[in-house]
């Protein structure tokens, strides 16, 4: 495959990405494009490197000193992987939703306001407005509007996950990186999140990591199937799921159903 170059319809381009942890080759020559305003699903068995790939996009791999990362990741024309300049601003372009909700140990209100405070916004009215707007966006406003000052941990897990989504949206990202965001949730909360994602793709580009085949079928506009640290197949869900080319995907489809 020839090295990919950034194009207009692709928000994010990954080119020749390799990640090592010691001698262990976690990601092998990853090349992919994330189309804008679509849900791109990273699908694959556990331990295939999906989460690591997601963390590379957000530069959270910096936290793990034992990881060696090489290659390029472009947003527009900027290679974000190899810059050390203004990393917080790069991360702000992407909202992260992790496997388990991680509400900050403060109130519901302050959780959503956190990103704004970090940006240096002090205008109380603007913050109030933004908090309400984003809590509405995730359908949480009516449930929490009377207890905005309650600790975020007092919410149910499903509500916490939506709060974390609202918190991420408040910094106005272009891309949502979601790492198995429903794996810790009950079926009803999962449904709500999935529904939100379908609504949100009008305004955001979404990258969703999952190992649940059904979820991928329900949500994906574009599928990247990974196995053992490499991309095995990528393409439209109808192509991939009805005409799998590789043995790995075929096996996965049979097990998944």
């Amino acid at each position: 495959m020839s090295p990919l170059t950034p194009t207009d319809s692709n928000v994010l381009t990954v080119s020749h990405l390799n990640v090592y942890a010691g001698d262990h080759h976690i990601l092998r020559d990853i090349n992919l494009e994330i189309p804008s305003n679509r849900i791109t699903v990273l699908l694959g068995p556990s331990g295939c490197g999906k989460t690591t790939l997601l963390k590379c996009m957000n530069k959270l791999t910096d936290l793990y000193k034992e990881l060696k990362v090489s290659g390029n990741i472009y947003i527009g024309n900027d290679d974000i992987l190899n810059t050390t300049h203004n990393i917080p601003a790069i991360r702000q372009k992407m909202g992260l939703l992790s496997q388990r909700p991680y509400p900050l140990p403060v109130s519901i209100y302050k959780n959503v306001a956190y990103g704004l405070k970090i940006k240096g916004i002090r205008d109380r009215k603007l913050i109030d407005f933004s908090v309400e707007k984003h809590l509405r966006e995730v359908g949480l406003w009516d449930e929490v509007k009377n207890r905005l000052n309650a600790p975020a941990t007092s919410l149910s897990i499903g509500q916490q996950q939506r709060l974390c989504l609202a918190r991420g949206l408040a910094v106005k990202p272009a891309i949502i990186l979601a790492d198995e965001p429903t794996s810790a949730l009950d079926p009803i909360s999962s449904k709500i999140i999935e529904h939100l994602f379908r609504e949100m793709k009008r305004h955001y580009t979404i990258v969703l990591v999952t190992h649940v085949l059904r979820q991928a079928i329900r949500l994906a506009d574009h599928v990247i199937f990974m196995c053992d640290g490499r991309i095995v197949e990528q393409g439209s869900p109808s192509d991939l799921f009805s005409h799998p080319q590789s043995d790995e995907l075929r096996a996965y489809l049979i097990d998944g159903n």
Partner: protein
């Protein structure tokens, strides 16, 4: 056979509960014992004058504990000031910024150091700190000191308490899930901002408890302080002067305590005071820890 087993069950059950009750009743028994031994003192002097008077003349039956209490407080305060930045910053560095390798080697080392007997720290104090204070630090501040001083006591205590406090802080900070830091970073916060908001602010009770327990330990420490603090009865604000902390008073005078009337009561009163102060400290901060652990 069955009867024998039931009897054994009863007997062993009794042994177990008796042991547990004995241990749990220990502070009460100790407190009562010391109080009873100290009580003759209260016929002569009020509690208030015992604690706040600076008039110390055992042979004339006057016991004012103020020099000892201030001595203890001063040494403890100094050690707290030394440990405060060192422990907090080191714990943050070890848990958030350092390589895995460093914390994996440091954690057992800190654990071992926290278990070293205090007399070893005292030896080190006499060997290094006392000459350092007398020869370098005091002259640098334009005064002179014998070296056996409040400052030396504070330094030795701080070094003793650092492994103890650091250990607790590391335990506290380690419980912060990586996902929380990642969430904060992905909203555009810098590493340090994330540490400030998530690690420090989210763990106030744990941090306060660690220091609270450290202070309590410092306040009751005997041998190491006694070896370097000079043991002179005096109320002084100068850290280069000697002082006489409460535990040192008890430890140094047990020999004479039976030869002077009421002296033994006075020393037991000092022990009683130590017990109450430290027990209260421990109860408060342990309570904070237990409460946060439940959440």
């Amino acid at each position: 056979m069955l009867l024998k087993r039931i009897l054994a069950d009863k007997a062993n059950g009794l042994w177990m509960i008796t042991s547990l009750v004995t241990i749990l009743a220990l502070p009460l028994v100790i407190g009562t014992g010391l109080y009873l031994k100290a009580s003759p003192l209260f016929d002569q002097q009020s509690f208030f004058s015992l604690v706040f008077s600076a008039d110390w003349a055992p042979s004339e039956g006057r016991f004012g504990f103020r020099p000892y209490i201030t001595g203890s407080l001063y040494v403890t305060l100094l050690s707290f000031l030394f440990t405060l930045p060192v422990c907090l910053l080191s714990a943050i560095y070890l848990t958030q910024f350092s390589s895995q390798w460093l914390i994996r080697t440091m954690h057992p080392v800190i654990d071992v150091l926290a278990g070293l007997p205090s007399v070893i720290y005292g030896v080190w104090g006499v060997l290094i700190v006392v000459p350092l204070v007398a020869g370098n630090i005091a002259p640098a501040f334009g005064t002179s000191s014998a070296g056996y001083s409040i400052l030396s006591g504070g330094i030795v205590l701080a070094i003793m308490c650092i492994p103890y406090i650091l250990n607790m802080l590391i335990e506290v900070f380690r419980t912060v899930p990586a996902g929380l830091i990642e969430a904060s970073l992905s909203m555009g916060a810098t590493r340090w901002e994330s540490v400030k908001h998530v690690v420090i602010r989210g763990n106030y009770p744990g941090i306060i408890s660690a220091y609270g327990l450290g202070i309590a330990k410092a306040f009751g420490e005997t041998i190491a302080v006694m070896m370097v603090v000079g043991n002179v009865v005096k109320v002084s604000g100068n850290p280069f002067d000697a002082a006489y902390p409460l535990p040192a008073l008890i430890a140094n005078n047990y020999g004479e305590m039976l030869s002077i009337p009421m002296y033994d009561s006075a020393l037991m009163f000092a022990a009683f005071l130590l017990l109450i102060i430290i027990l209260i400290f421990n109860m408060i901060f342990r309570y904070l820890i237990h409460k946060t652990r439940k959440q």
